[in-house]
């Protein structure tokens, strides 16, 4: 069964303290792995798509990487405005299978 697992469930960082979020997946024939940011009471905001192992994408303080079994979202020198829930999803048959998300809190 296709499955996406994110860890940790929650992460508290001090401003400037870099860290990584993990997304492990089991899916037959990966056709895309997606990262989204979701603020409370809002819809998910698209961040990145990764298609093949070794691929990396960056946006401001965020960098997403992909291996054959997992993806990492690296956050470098985070700021309080980076606080949100980060969702990982894999594409399967035109549909997304989501992980449970990592709730990130960055304190000033």
């Amino acid at each position: 069964e296709d499955q996406v697992t994110q860890s940790p469930e929650a992460l508290r960082l001090q401003e400037g303290e870099s860290s990584s979020l993990n997304c492990s997946y089991t899916v037959s024939g990966l056709r895309g792995l997606f990262w989204y940011r979701q603020d409370p009471g809002k819809g998910p905001e698209f961040l990145f798509t990764l298609y093949s192992a070794g691929e990396e994408k960056e946006k401001e303080r965020l960098k997403a990487t992909l291996t054959k079994k997992e993806s990492f979202l690296h956050i470098t020198a985070p700021k309080p405005e980076d606080s949100a829930t980060y969702l990982c999803a894999v594409q399967q048959g035109g549909k997304l299978i989501f992980g449970q998300g990592t709730e990130l809190s960055v304190k000033p």
Partner: protein, 113 residues
């Protein structure tokens, strides 16, 4: 700016009283999705339209129905809302052949009293 719009943003309905949520998009995407998201949970796919082709998830209750009258609009109808249907309802769109990257609307928060 091209976008996904949901109305209303907040909806309060009574137990058993039918309610309709709407979604429109200016992205000209051919695939539209409806998700239900409860607090601290991942979005759960209810159904999706691939052009006019309706695809229901196996575990979507019969209480939930959808209509897509044209490419731009999609509606979610809840025939007899129960207390367990209180949630955020998210609409998303994607385009076949572009990696199925989905773009979400802001959501409608449904409260059932």
């Amino acid at each position: 700016d091209a976008m996904v719009i949901q109305n209303p943003r907040y909806q309060v309905t009574q137990f058993g009283k039918p309610v309709t949520l709407s979604c429109s998009q200016t992205l000209n995407h051919n695939v539209m999705y409806w998700y239900q998201q409860k607090s601290s949970q991942a979005p759960k796919l209810l159904f999706h339209y691939y052009d006019k082709d309706f695809n229901n998830e196996a575990d979507t209750p019969d209480n939930f129905q959808s209509r897509r009258p044209n490419t731009s609009f999609c509606f979610l109808d809840i025939r007899s809302p129960g207390l367990g249907d209180a949630a955020m309802y998210l609409c998303a769109t994607s385009r076949e052949g572009q990696g199925y990257e989905q773009y979400f609307g802001p959501g409608t928060r449904l409260t059932v009293t």
